[in-house]
Amino acid sequence: MAKELWKGNEAIAEAAIKAGCKFFFGYPITPQNEIPEYMAMRMPQIEGAAFVQAESEVAAINMVYGGAGSGARVMTSSSSPGISLKQEGITYIAGAELPCVIVNIVRGGPGLGGIQPAQSDYFQATKGGGHGDYRLLVLAPSSVQEAVDLTQEAFDMADQYRNPVMIMGDGMIGQMMEPVEFTDVPKRNLPEKTWATTGTKGKREHNVINSLFIDPAACEKHNIHLFEKYAEMEKNEVRVEEYNMDGAEIVFVAYGTTARIVKNAIATLGKEGIKAGLIRPITLWPYPSKTVEAAAAKANVKAFLTVEMSMGQMVEDVRLAVNGAKPVHFYGRTGGMVPTPAAIVAEAKKVLGGAK
């Protein structure tokens, strides 16, 4: 199939459908509205599929719970304030071990914040979000094509681990148009959903979808089971792009839209004789800590500069991975402001002790 221009949000929606998503439950919020709008147009064309505009994000995520518990491929999408409302449902889904895909097209916060691109939901996405000990698989595309590929794979990941997967984009990824080619991503070998509530048909004991363990010992055991699963994810699912790292004296760490802007800055620095590289986490959880750690051990690397559209969230994971081996600096814009390549270049020079 030839490449076509697709808007990020619509491309994510179509990718989900191509991955077999037949049920979408959502609620309007900018800048992700094209996802529910696209689903409302497409789902009625698909046999047995449904689109429901829920009364709230809270209801939408609980519809996801019900649909996912019944074994279907189910998705919801929202943007930051709406994702906060969904946190209740997300922790229940994680607790009940249901597979689903949740899209967050992040905008500025806190509170109502703004509607322009931001990355200030990193903590929420990677450190829990809702109550209890749990993890989401968090995927951060930095192009529309990558958003398409990751969305398709997200459904397989969710089914493999019986865990919610979050696609974390930002207003830019959602709103921009880029060339996209829908290719079939390799399908994983997935177990049958024998746990789903589809009616016993008189042939098996009843299935129960549940996250309640009133006996503390049983609840702890459940948590330990979850963390064994998370350890598997950490072992198998870390994704990272290393860019221009050979001989880099300064290493940027950035994801999503910000990573693209950093690449422009790296080109400018290169023209001025400064070798800069980029570590771009594609999975925000599990985090590519080992890649960061390995870079910190290289003699040529003098410092790290984390760039985010936030006041500094992912930088904490960079510091944990670097573990004091090298200085870790931060540059960020927030509230919907986007860093410019020029500002990133200036910051890098400052970190390296002035212009060469």
């Binding site: 221009l5 900018t30 830019m172 693209r260 802007i261």
Partner: protein, 178 residues
């Protein structure tokens, strides 16, 4: 050559549409492209703008901070984006609606009476295509033939009757920069 283009105007003037046409044409010619709209309240009737990048190299940031070219269809857009054009760049001004002259002397400025031309062609809505014709003729960012291929794909069936009008608008726009 990388074209980093800003185009802006009132909502409804069709700036998003010509941005998409340029991006589609670039894609058709095998180039790397991106199209990024402004979004939010300003797109409901206020000034709308989009950033388009057409390049032989992979597109880094989709945000245009230094525009190689700007196409402005109304006065607020001129005021906002004139300064963003890089030295040696080009500025296309819809002189039908903008009576102000550019103050820049380090860029090439084209004045295109797009609405007047569109009205002469019998359809005021096609002013955006006149601007596009001027832009293509001056920059060769994509070829006019590719633009017409895209336009032909856009208007199929009953709507195909507007294709010649679009072609004429592109041609009239092109004359303005010769």
């Amino acid at each position: 050559m990388t074209h980093e283009i800003v185009m802006a105007g009132f909502g409804g003037q069709g700036v998003m549409a010509i941005g998409k046409i340029i991006a589609e044409a670039g894609l058709k010619e095998g180039k790397n492209v991106s199209w990024l709209p402004s979004y939010g309240p300003e797109m409901r009737g206020g000034t709308a703008s989009c950033n388009v990048i057409v390049s032989a190299d992979p597109v880094g940031s989709p945000i245009v901070t230094g525009a190689t070219e700007a196409i402005v269809l109304n006065r607020p857009s001129l005021d906002k984006f004139e300064k963003d054009v890089v030295p040696g760049g080009m500025l296309f001004i819809n002189s039908s609606l903008i009576d102000k002259k550019s103050t820049r002397d380090d860029i090439k400025v084209y004045y295109v009476p797009a609405n007047d031309i569109a009205n002469e062609l019998g359809n005021g809505k096609i002013a955006n295509m006149v601007m596009l014709g001027a832009y293509i003729a001056a920059t060769n960012a994509v070829s006019e033939d590719t633009i017409m291929e895209i336009v032909t794909e856009m208007f199929q069936g009953k709507k195909a009757s507007v294709i010649p009008l679009n072609k004429e608008a592109l041609a009239k726009g092109a004359e303005c920069v010769k």
